[in-house]
Subunit: 399 residues, 2 copies
């Protein structure tokens, strides 16, 4: 169960011919009755926002949506006015399929940039995916599969929380993303649904907080894409009083959204193109959380640190150097660095350690690099991977 | 002729045993008479500055220096108080060798981070390199060879200029750098000498301007190192009136320094670890030069753009996406992008082009990516390379 975990939502996925391989490439998530519910979204900060991002932003102005239609294999980015028209047409087709207004449908696309959308395929495909909409696990799985591009695995997650007056709500979500991954935000699409009772501005605030602590803390190759989108629909079927900002159940909603987003973000890092290692870069003791984020992102995004991880080389010199280049302030001679708990640098210089244990620690698939700046209490964790020749193989040619 | 091109300077290079390979690893540049002359320097902005950077900054406070001693194979970075003591001892040994004051010697080191300097080798080596100091081409070549690390070629350059009252001055320089290359500044060392007549603050201003337009516009892997240093010594032997800031000969001095720095920066990009392509990212039509730099650096530093260059794939979608992520402001639907003069994107969308000519253009070793943002007149050029599996091979293990 993922995007269909909360009651009152349906999903589906089909192959409509965008991908030459014939793999599933068109997904939809909708309310079971086709009526609009509370919705919120976080979009790429890239100035070159794709057509579907521009259209979804417009359609979210009223904080309501009945469905999301998602295509994979073509990003519909850098396609100009024709791209916006095509994105709107996708919404119109989806709206017709479920009996909703066009302005209540959101749209996401992912894939290659700069290529016109193959609209003939979508004219046929969107009615098909509407016909395939269903509740339950298989439907959620079909949708999660249809948004994959270079992903090798579906990415799905669920969480539950306690709302006001003892009610219980569920959050389910699905995502795609395997490259062009960088904070603010990763190249990725994610759709979440929940039965929580919440108004649009509260939901927007809760989603933004959840994204800041999850998708924004994932950095693989430092590229922010044209299409990044995280959407959430909340149908209120959990019942009971509404969750108000900072009121009863609000923190629980943020935690549940963050749990789903965090789980999806970790799944993205674990499925990143060509990666052979999964790493958590943990910065502690920074002057502020902001400084901790600066340092953790700079270390996580460093090609040279990623090369060292690939070679299982505990070369902490690159780690401290990236901290120094990050803009975070600290005393370079009060820094401790550890790999999977084995401290290799203390007070900013090399320290004695068990070389055999360290070699064994570096051979693990999961590596935690802990950097204590020993200045104050700022903390941040960023997820990343190693950089391998397979990443280059996968990205050197688009065809 | 390079660092010994201007009259009155001597240089030398020897192997002293820092590098296990036995390759040359210790260089020196000095005034022929051991007397201090006008000097200026630009150093890394990394908070984790290596011991030699800290010591050289102190020794440059008076704007005068008699010599620079440079070692390769060990960066003497993240070595704490012992590292500063070792760097000062290197200056002391060099000063003794040429009869100068310790405070008039500058010091640079490059190599691995976090390892104590092998001072026994330097106690023997620095007297040897002092004994080897000589004028002329062979001595300059020996010094340029002794600062190489993963460089495969020496990097040397010269230029001449016209000073006040019809005098002529010469600028010569040498550099090293093949990875950890990023603006502000590249992981690199460079030493320049000139016989121009100029005071220290004017020389500092001229050098900073030259570096901003050359070394700062080189980005290979986005890592700013702990040891980056560019130094210039000016002995005034060209004679005639002094060059004053913004006065006669000043612009000529900046141009000559920039010519040498630019030539050395290009040599670094052409010798970058694992690179199979050399690329110029040219941004025009930006709102400001600042915006042009933001966009050009973001495109040049993009792993995904570099992967495309490696695959000879004219995937301009990644180029426009990086421009959009750079912070530069422009209209995404007024962007033109060309590879070696062949326009593939016009008005922000794909345009017709000669596919055969484009394939041939992409197969060139040198690729110029031109991005016209068509907003105003801001321009910038940044040098970069492709990203190849050989880069990862070279950087995945330090030993």
């Amino acid at each position: 169960m993922s995007v269909t975990a909360a009651p009152g939502f349906v999903a589906g996925g089909v192959a409509c011919g965008i991908k030459a391989s014939g793999a599933p490439d068109l997904a939809m998530v909708a309310t079971a009755d086709g009526r609009p519910v509370t919705a919120a979204g976080v979009f790429t900060t890239n100035l070159v926002a794709a057509g579907p991002v521009q259209v979804s932003r417009q359609h979210l102005v009223d904080g309501r949506a009945a469905a999301v239609v998602l295509s994979s294999g073509n990003a519909n980015a850098a396609t100009g006015a024709a791209g916006r028209r095509d994105a709107r047409r996708m919404c119109e087709l989806a709206a017709k399929g479920i009996g909703a207004d066009t302005a209540d449908v959101l749209v996401c696309s992912t894939g290659l940039i700069g290529i016109p959308m193959p609209m003939a395929a979508l004219e046929q495909g969107i009615p098909s995916v509407c016909a395939a909409l269903a509740g339950g696990e298989a439907a959620g799985t079909a949708a999660a599969a249809a948004i994959m591009t270079t992903d090798t695995r579906r990415k799905e997650a669920t969480a539950t929380g306690t709302g006001p007056a003892g009610t219980t709500f569920t959050v389910g979500g699905m995502a795609k993303g395997a490259a062009m991954l960088s904070p603010a935000m990763a190249t990725m699409l994610a759709v979440l649904t929940t039965d929580a009772v919440v108004d649009a501005s509260t939901l927007q605030q809760a989603l933004a907080t959840a994204v800041a602590g999850s998708f924004d803390m994932l950095i693989v190759d430092g590229s922010r894409s044209t299409n990044d989108t995280v959407l959430v629909l909340a149908n209120g079927q959990a019942g009971g009083p509404a969750i108000m900002r900072q009121g009863a159940g609000y923190q629980e909603l943020v935690v549940a959204l963050a749990a789903v987003c965090g789980s999806l973000a970790e799944a993205m890092a674990r499925d990143a193109e060509g990666a052979t290692k999964f790493a958590r870069i943990v910065v502690r003791g920074a002057r502020s959380h902001h400084d901790a984020r600066l340092a953790a992102r700079q270390v996580a995004g460093s090609q040279l640190v990623q090369c060292s991880l690939h070679g299982e080389d505990p070369y902490w010199g690159r780690v401290i150097s990236e901290c120094g280049a990050s803009g975070a302030f600290f005393d370079p001679e009060q820094v401790d660095i550890a790999y999977n708990g084995i401290t290799v640098c203390r007070d900013g210089v090399a320290c004695d350690h068990d070389a055999v244990a360290l070699r064994s620690a570096m051979s693990e698939h999961d590596i935690e690099v802990t950097i204590d700046l020993r200045t104050a209490h700022g903390e941040a964790t960023v997820l990343t991977t190693d950089l391998s020749p397979a990443y280059i193989d996968e990205n050197m040619r688009t065809s």
